[in-house]
């Protein structure tokens, strides 16, 4: 065993002789059967309860149980937590926990020099080394010399701890599977956390398997105790990350999927409507179906697992037609199947929400990896001129507010709304000040009020929306459909002038929404400068941090983040024109950049990334410096 923790002379120490850190990035890496996601989630809860700001990034293979020990079967969970504001999951790792050789070889390059490497040496046998692609054992060949390495017999220690529990009936396999909790115990100790919250969670999770709960708790406590009694090298210390200074409020940890589901339910409540969520299982959107299906029925939520993506979309339309708020959730390939239905909602002018948790593509692509390459599909991806509203959430907490906004716009303007999140947002989490729903303003939606001189396609002169009169409403009988209809009466019409007028009206209705959404602001930096970094969606964190860092260096750079993708905010052109250079980092091959160029004839430049992983702060910093002629 080698233990060499970092010398900490330049930092203040806590009474417990711990080194105080502003923030830290930890990644747990192991086999997809090693329970890395559970381990990471538990560490997240502990960090949140300890008052840190944080961002997490779970990354796992598409295979449910990939062959043991392979590099493609590696599952990881990364968390960046700190006493300062945290905006990304972190570029480089301070601590890497590698449960096997495959976890080490696939993640080591992200560990900073002098970073702490915790390794389960029991898994470094020849077979596993070979599977991971090691020709020599990295624990013996000196290749880890630039890191601080703790090689521990984690599997064995965990197994011993599990077997020491009295009066339980467990198998060998079950006892060795507690190794993730042993490792978690050690990392909790390393960052000055106790095991109380995790114990509670384990007892809850394994409530029906009390023996399993007991051995996992035993391994957890053993890992923690190991840290307590470990003899550190002279001058070395463990860490303490003090609580962050967050604005006052009641906080919880929230994932993007939770944010969207709760936002949809809240939006439906503010509209006074039932939420009818229709979906077909697809990664990474299925979680939303699970969360909403798990909500109690008395929350005004119904879910429908449809036979396919098309049925999910059309059932959502049927639900809206009957006076619910119909929502369908999917990912890119599924949304492709829904496009004809979305066109019907455009034509019949019914509210509808399509949530797209984007993933890598084209086709089946990278189901579990993140990308934001469905912007074109959202804005343009239907037959004919069929404009609709496109929104993009930029953080797990923001998912909530954008989902509320989606319901507001869909019901006010009688239009489909596409809400874009992505695989990263869906699964990552952050502390979130929980809103008070009772203080939110209702939308004032009516579905059973028949206006004077009612015609189904009469229009509100201000919004250009048609009245929403649902079946069952006395005095409101009418018919709608996908055939072109006469402005006003809604009767089927093949009249050429009418088709022109209706096409223009549909476009004007959506365009007009630009004046009913928040004005575009500059997220960070000045309203004028040398370069604007323009983002959308989940690139918010890395862009914002990069711009902050570059401004600290004295560069004239600003961050503009677009939440309303279509229509774009009315003042966006004015905002962007204040910058001679515009850089658009996107996790696609350049989509928003072309939308901006097409709309405004501005010299926006693309910074694409499609590796299935979020941007690193340094990648954006480097790109901006090079545009400003700075040495990298």
């Amino acid at each position: 065993m080698t233990v060499q923790l970092k010398d900490s002379a330049k930092h203040n120490k806590t009474p417990a002789d711990r080194e105080v850190l502003e923030s830290a990035v930890v990644r747990f890496a192991g086999d997809s059967g090693d329970g890395m996601q559970l381990t990471g989630a538990q560490f997240t809860v502990s960090s949140a309860v300890a008052g840190n700001d944080l961002v997490t990034f779970p990354d796992f293979p598409a295979e449910i149980r990939a062959p043991v020990g392979t590099t493609f079967g590696v599952s990881t969970f990364q968390i960046n937590f700190g006493t300062r504001e945290i905006r990304t999951a972190g570029d480089t790792l301070d601590v890497l926990v590698a449960m096997n050789p495959a976890g080490l070889i696939t993640n080591l390059e992200d560990l900073r020099e002098d970073g702490l490497l915790i390794i389960d040496e029991n898994t470094f046998q020849e077979r596993n080394l070979k599977k991971a692609g090691y020709e020599t054992n990295p624990l013996e060949d000196g290749s880890l010399a630039k890191y601080r390495v703790m090689t521990l017999e984690i599997s064995k220690y965990a197994q011993n701890a599990a077997k020491a529990v009295e009066n339980v009936e467990i198998t060998n396999k079950e006892s060795v599977r507690t190794k993730n909790m042993w490792a978690l115990g050690l990392v909790l100790w390393l960052f000055d956390r106790d095991t109380v919250v995790t114990k509670e969670r384990l007892e809850q999770k394994f409530a029906k398997l009390p023996d399993i709960a007991k051995i996992n708790v035993a391994a957890l406590v053993a890992g923690h105790a190991f840290g307590e009694t470990m003899e550190l090298a002279p001058g070395a210390s463990a860490y303490h990350v003090p609580p962050a200074e967050l604005p006052a409020g009641e906080y919880r940890n929230v994932t993007g999927s939770q944010g969207i589901c709760w936002g949809l339910a809240t939006g439906a409540h503010l509209a006074g409507l039932e939420l009818v969520y229709c979906s077909y299982p697809i990664t990474p959107a299925s979680n939303m179906l699970h969360i909403l299906a798990g909500m109690a029925e008395d929350l005004g939520v119904k879910t429908f697992q449809a036979e396919d993506e098309i049925a999910a979309a059309t059932a959502a339309i049927g639900a809206s037609y009957a006076g619910g708020i119909g929502v369908t959730g999917s990912s890119g390939p599924g949304v492709a199947l829904k496009t004809e239905a979305i066109g019907l909602a455009c034509a019949a002018e019914l509210p509808m929400i399509i949530v797209n948790a984007q993933r890598g593509g084209p086709s089946t692509g990278l189901p579990t990896k993140t990308e934001q390459s469905d912007l074109y599909q959202s804005v343009y991806g239907r037959n004919a001129d069929s404009p609709l509203v496109v929104l993009a959430a930029h953080s797990p907490g923001d998912c909530y507010y954008m989902a509320v906004e989606a319901v507001r716009l869909a019901t006010k303007y009688m239009t489909p709304v596409i809400l874009l999140s992505d695989g990263y947002l869906a699964n990552s989490s952050e502390p979130w000040s929980v809103p008070d729903v009772s203080s939110m303003q209702p939308f004032g939606v009516t579905t059973t009020t028949v206006p004077e001189n009612f015609e189904p396609f009469m229009r509100d002169p201000k919004t250009l929306a048609r009245p929403w009169v649902v079946p069952g409403t006395p005095g409101g009988i009418h018919r709608i459909g996908g055939l072109e209809r006469a402005q006003g009466s809604g009767n089927v019409s093949y009249d050429p002038d009418n088709h022109q007028e209706m096409t223009d009206l549909r476009a004007a209705k959506i365009r007009g929404i630009a004046h009913d959404i928040p004005e575009q602001t500059v997220e960070r930096g000045d309203a004028e400068g040398d370069i604007a970094v323009v983002g959308w969606g989940s690139t918010f964190g890395p862009i914002n941090r990069a711009v902050e860092n570059l401004r600290d260096e004295g560069l004239s750079v600003s961050h503009v983040h677009i939440n309303h993708i279509w229509p774009l905010p009315a003042n966006l052109k004015d905002v962007l024109e204040k910058f001679p250079k515009i850089l658009v980092p996107e996790m696609n091959n350049g989509q928003l950049v072309n939308l901006l160029r097409a709309e405004y004839l501005l010299p926006a430049e693309s910074l694409p990334k499609v590796s299935g992983k979020p941007f690193k702060v340094s990648e954006i910093e480097d790109a901006v410096r090079s545009r400003l002629g700075e040495n990298e």
Binding site: L299, G300, F304, D308, A311, T314, V437, H478
Partner: protein, 335 residues
């Protein structure tokens, strides 16, 4: 309008010009449906007609009720969402053979197995009409059409067998010009809680004229049709002199004549619409050797539970519940 008096069939007709070809079977079906609505005293404000695409799918435009003309094949899914959001609505779904059994086959399958309380009217004319006469999934082998000039090679889908196979709990058959029979059948469909599947044989006068002539022609009708009645012996023919008998050696149905070869009425099967085995046997009968079964082929004995419309709590209560939901698990206070 405060409706006290019973509405007449005409009250269920819209002011829109009906745009089917002159002589199309759809006119007769429209008439029969409007009469059914009147007889049922259906509330037009709680009635919704939902359709997909095709000639049949124009139907909602002609009904003075709520109506939604959707997209090809998806009416069943739209109707499912509509019923989910408001179980109080009375939903009639109108669809053709291509809409139901080709592009929309998957949705029909799942609607039937879910048994959602919708009345499903399949207008089967064994041809694509609106796209000008291509073979359809129910076209018989050898059907010559613009897309099958040498005769179709595909075996047809049998609509009723498909429905029974999908787990339908109410299955019936009628045809366009059989007005009293159609109206009686539609009333039975209406009375059934769950998906009621009714195949209506419908004559396309332009692209597939007289394809059902061997069933519907007056000259052959009594020998080629059998009108099903729950609890009654399966008899047919001008004088009810023929009947259906089970051949136990082949587990098949054969037509026999009373008085011939010692056949008496005790040999004749009695229709039990709750018997799924019998339903599957009589569903596929066809002339010339066996009569086409008309009426309620299958109606499950036990009604499936159907959801009811839930009362919404007050806005304050809902806000409290949402607040509580979002605070479940670990929360902490700052400041």
């Amino acid at each position: 309008m405060n409706v006290v008096t019973k509405l007449s069939p005409k009250d269920y007709a819209t002011d829109q010009e009906v745009r089917w070809c002159p002589g199309c079977g759809d006119y007769a079906i429209l008439k029969g449906v409007q009469r059914t609505m009147s007889d049922l005293e259906a509330d037009p404000e709680k009635t919704v007609f939902i359709s997909g695409i095709g000639c049949a799918a124009r139907f909602p435009y002609y009904m003075e009720t709520y109506g939604f003309h959707t997209i090809h094949g998806r009416a069943a899914a739209v109707a499912t969402g509509t019923k989910l959001a408001n179980p109080d609505l009375e939903i009639w779904l109108v669809s053709g053979d291509g809409d139901s059994l080709s592009i929309g086959g998957n949705h029909l399958l799942h609607l039937l197995r879910r048994d959602i309380d919708i009345n499903y009217l399949l207008f089967n004319n064994e041809i694509y009409g609106l796209t000008k006469g291509q073979m359809s999934p129910t076209s018989r082998r050898g059907t010559v059409s613009p897309s099958s000039p040498r005769g179709s090679m595909d075996a047809p889908v049998h609509a009723i067998a498909f429905a029974l196979g999908a787990g339908a709990r109410f299955v019936a058959r009628t045809y366009d010009v059989a007005q009293p029979h159609m109206i009686a059948t539609l009333k039975r469909a209406h009375a059934h809680r769950g998906t009621s599947f009714v195949e209506i044989l419908q004559n396309c006068i332009v692209y597939n004229p007289d394809v059902f002539a061997d069933i519907t022609d007056k000259a052959v009708a009594s020998d080629h049709q059998i009108h099903l009645e729950h609890g009654a012996p399966l008899l047919f023919g001008k004088e009810n002199e023929k009947g259906l008998r089970l051949d136990p050696r082949t587990l098949s149905i054969e037509a026999v004549t009373l008085g011939e070869n010692g056949v008496t009425e005790t040999d004749i099967l009695v229709h039990d619409e709750t018997n799924p085995v019998l339903a599957s046997l009589i569903a596929k009968m066809a002339p010339p050797h066996l009569p086409e079964a008309l009426g309620v082929i299958y109606c499950a004995a036990d009604a499936a539970p159907q959801p009811e419309k839930a009362e919404r709590p007050s806005s304050e209560v809902m806000a409290e519940r949402l607040n509580a939901l979002m605070r479940m698990g670990h929360t902490w206070h700052v400041g």
